[in-house]
Symmetry: C2
C-alpha cells in the first residue's frame, strides 16, 4: 500500500481533544488506503517546560542529559496517539526514536539523521498494522544515547521518514493553513500559495517565515519529497494547504513568489580597515567564534589600501560582535578607525525562482522603495532573492508596497 | 569501590529544589567513597497525570502503549538528577531502563525484572563516573518494547540493582522516616523501629503499611539486600530510618514487632454448602476468575455432609463476589442455602518473628480484645502473624490496646 507521512506539531496535539481530532484526520487517510506514518511533537508547552527545568539546573548543561530529558514529551504524545487510533479501531502502535531506530550523529541537541532502517515498521505494516506513530525530534546516537535534532526537529523527522519509506507525500499539520505571499499580520492582502518551490520555501524559511524548519525543506528538496503544509484546525480537502515541491511542479510563473522580512537587524560598519588578504577571514572567524550570526556582508570599494566592511546581524548579538572586534583589534590582528553601529534596521526580501529568467526584478524593487521615500542601506542578491536593509520604521510600508507592486495578491 | 543504591520516590523529587536536596544526600555518600546508583521515580503527580491521559482515551488500553507513555516521567527525573549532580561537580550520567538494559518479562504494566547486566554501568564507574542515575519502574521486554513494573515499581528496581551490583545497602528515601510499630495516625504511641526482619516487613506491607512495595521486600529477602527506609526531608545520620534485614541481624527479641490493620474488609459466609471434595476449589477459582482478592478463609466443622464456608475480601469487591457465586450456583456447580455478607468488619494483625519461639501470643491477643469487649469474628494464623476480623468500629481501639499490651512503645 502507498505510504503517507503525517506530522502533527505541538499545538495540533496540545490536549486529548486535539489528539482525537488529529487521529480522525489520520483515519481519513487510512480509509483511502494509505499506510500512514504519523510523526508527533510534544504537547504544546511540554518541551518548553522541560527545557526550563534543564536550564534552571545548569546553564551550561550536558547536552546528552538535555536530550534524555526533553525527548520525553514526544514519547508521551506518540503513545497517546497510538491509543487514540486503536480506540477508533485503527491498528496502530508507537515507536520511540531508538526503537526504529532513527540513527543520528552524536551532535547532541543538534543531531542530524543518518539512517532510518525501514524493516521494523514495514514488517508491522505487512502484518496489518495501518499506522506507525513515531516520536519526532529524536534519535539514537552512535554511543546508544538519545539524541535530539534541535528545536522544530519533528519536521525533519517527518521528511526523513517520507524519504526513507518512499512516501507519496509528507503532510505537515500546523496552526497555519499554508504558506503565504507575506505575513498576513503585516499585509492584509497576503494570499495563501497553492504551491511553492523548495528553493523559495528555503529562502522564506531562513528569512523568518517560521512555517517549516529549514533543514526539513533542504532534505525534502534533496530527496524530492512532496511536502504539504496545512492546518489541523480546519476541515481539509486533498487540495488544502500549500504544496512545497520541485520547481517544475509549480504552476505560477511570476518572478516573485513572496516578500519576507526580518525585523530586528543591526548594521555594523568597520571604517577604514587595512585591506589585505585574509582580513575578511580574520573578522568573520572572530565573529563566528563569538556566536554572532552574520547575515549580509558588503565590502565597499577600497581606497588607498583601506576599505569599509559592512555586515548585519540580529540586534541581540551586537554586544558580542563589538566585544569580539575590540579584542582582535587590541591583539593587533585587525586595524580599523571606527565601528559604526545602526541598531534600527530591518531586512526586506523578495523571493522567487521566476527572477532567474525574468530580468528587471531588482530594478523594480528599488524603484518601488524609492517611490515610497525609503532609503536602501545595504543590498545583497542571490539567484532567487534580493534583500535590502532599510530603516526599521519603514518595514511594514516596504512589505506592503512590494506586495502590491509584484501583484502577489493575485494568482498567476 | 563499594556500591550503594539510593532510591528517591516521587515526593522526594517533586520539584527542582527537592531534586537538589536529594542530590546533596547523594553527594554525601559519594564523599564517603561509595560509587552510587540512584534510582528515581517520576516527579510527584506526573505518573498520575499520564495514567489519567491513558485512561481517558481508552479504558481498556493497550498495556504496551500505556508503558510507553507512563515510563516517560522517570526519564525526565533521571536526566534532571544527573544534571544536578554534574552541576555540584559529581561525575554522573543517566540511564533509561532500555539502556542498561533492565530486561523484564513481557507482562506489560506488571512486568518482572529478569536480568540486569552490570557491564555498561561498571565500565563507567571504572572510568571515574561516581553516580549512575537510573530511571526506576521501567525495563525492556523480550520484544524490545518498554515495560513497567507496576505502581511503586521503583522500589523493586532499586533492590534489583542492589542485588545485581552487590551493593552494601539499598537506601529507600521516602516521605516517612521509617517503619513504625503501627500507624502513628491511629496510635500516638507508635514507635519507629530501628530494625525489622524481612518476613515481618512483608507481613506489614501486605497488611497495608504502604512504606515499601511488597515485591521489593521479597526480592531483598531472597538476595540478602540490606534495605533501609528513611526520610528525604530530614538531616540523616548513618543510623537514621529503619533497616529491613535478615532475621539474625534484628536485635529486638520481642514476640511482636508491630500491629497492622486493614480497614475496609468484608466477611462473606456461604451457609450449608455441600461438603464434598473439590468444592473449595470450585468456589475460590470462580472468585479468582472474577477478580476478587480473597484474604482469610475459614471452613467450619462439617455436619451431616454440609459445611459453612467463610472468607474475607475488600468491601469494594463484594458485588463481584456475589455475582460470581450466584453464577456457579445457577450452573449447579455449587449448592448453598444462603450467602451472608458483613460489610462492616476490619482486620487487625499482630506480626513478629519472635512468636515462633514464644508461645502464648495468640492467647494474649484474644484476652486483650476480650477485655475491651471486642468480639472476634474470624481468626487466621501464620507462623509470624495472627489476624482477626472484628467489627470495624472497634478497629482503632483494638490497635491501641494491642500496642499497649505488647509494649511496642518501648524498645526491647
Amino acid at each position: 500500500m502507498p505510504v503517507l507521512v503525517m506530522k502533527f506539531g505541538g499545538t495540533s496535539v496540545a490536549n486529548l481533544d486535539r489528539i482525537r481530532r488529529a487521529a480522525k484526520r489520520v483515519g481519513v487517510e487510512v480509509a483511502k488506503g494509505y499506510d500512514v506514518i504519523v510523526i508527533v511533537s510534544a504537547m504544546a508547552g511540554e518541551t518548553n517546560k522541560l527545557v526550563g527545568y534543564v536550564e534552571e539546573i545548569s546553564p551550561l548543561f550536558d547536552a546528552r542529559e538535555y536530550d534524555a530529558v526533553v525527548s520525553s514529551g514526544e514519547n508521551v504524545t506518540a503513545g497517546l496517539m497510538a491509543l487514540t487510533l486503536q480506540e477508533m479501531g485503527v491498528p496502530a502502535r508507537s515507536w520511540q526514536g531508538w526503537q526504529v531506530p532513527v540513527r543520528t550523529t552524536d551532535a547532541h541537541a543538534a543531531a542530524r539523521i543518518e539512517e532510518i532502517p525501514t524493516d521494523n515498521i514495514n514488517t508491522k505494516f505487512a502484518e496489518g498494522m495501518r499506522v506507525a506513530v513515531v516520536a519526532g525530534f529524536q534519535g539514537i546516537g552512535p554511543d546508544g544515547r538519545i539524541t535530539t535534532l534541535g528545536r522544530g526537529g519533528s519536521d525533519t523527522t517527518a521528511v526523513a521518514f517520507a524519504a526513507a519509506f518512499g512516501a507519496e507525500r509528507c503532510d505537515i499539520y500546523t496552526d497555519v493553513d499554508g504558506v503565504y505571499t507575506t505575513d498576513p499580520r503585516i499585509c492584509e492582502k497576503a494570499r495563501k500559495l497553492d504551491r511553492i518551490a523548495f528553493e523559495e520555501m528555503l529562502e522564506l524559511a531562513s528569512l523568518g517565515a517560521k512555517v517549516l524548519q529549514t533543514r526539513s525543506v533542504e532534505m525534502a528538496m534533496r530527496y524530492h519529497v512532496k511536502l504539504r503544509v496545512l492546518s489541523s484546525f480546519e476541515e481539509q480537502s486533498d487540495e488544502a494547504g500549500t504544496l512545497v515541491c520541485d520547481e517544475e511542479d509549480v504552476m505560477e510563473s511570476k518572478p516573485v513568489a513572496g516578500v519576507a522580512y526580518s525585523r530586528d537587524e543591526a548594521k555594523l560598519t568597520l571604517l577604514s580597515v587595512a585591506d589585505r588578504p585574509g582580513i575578511a577571514a580574520t573578522i568573520f572567524t572572530a565573529l563566528s567564534d563569538a556566536g554572532v550570526n552574520v547575515d549580509m556582508i558588503v565590502q565597499n570599494i577600497s581606497e588607498e589600501g583601506r576599505t569599509d566592511m559592512t555586515f548585519s546581524c540580529p540586534v541581540g548579538e551586537v554586544a558580542r560582535a563589538e566585544a569580539a572586534l575590540s579584542e582582535i583589534k587590541e591583539k593587533g590582528a585587525l586595524n580599523y578607525s571606527e565601528l559604526v553601529v545602526d541598531r534600527d534596521v530591518a531586512k526586506v526580501s523578495v523571493v522567487g525562482i521566476g527572477m532567474r529568467s525574468q530580468s528587471g526584478v531588482a530594478a523594480k524593487m528599488f524603484k518601488v522603495l524609492s517611490d515610497e521615500g525609503i532609503n536602501i542601506k545595504v543590498i545583497t542578491t542571490s539567484e532567487i532573492k534580493i534583500s535590502v536593509l532599510i530603516d526599521r520604521k519603514y518595514m511594514e510600508l516596504a512589505v506592503q508596497a512590494l506586495h502590491d507592486a509584484f501583484e502577489l495578491d493575485k494568482a498567476a
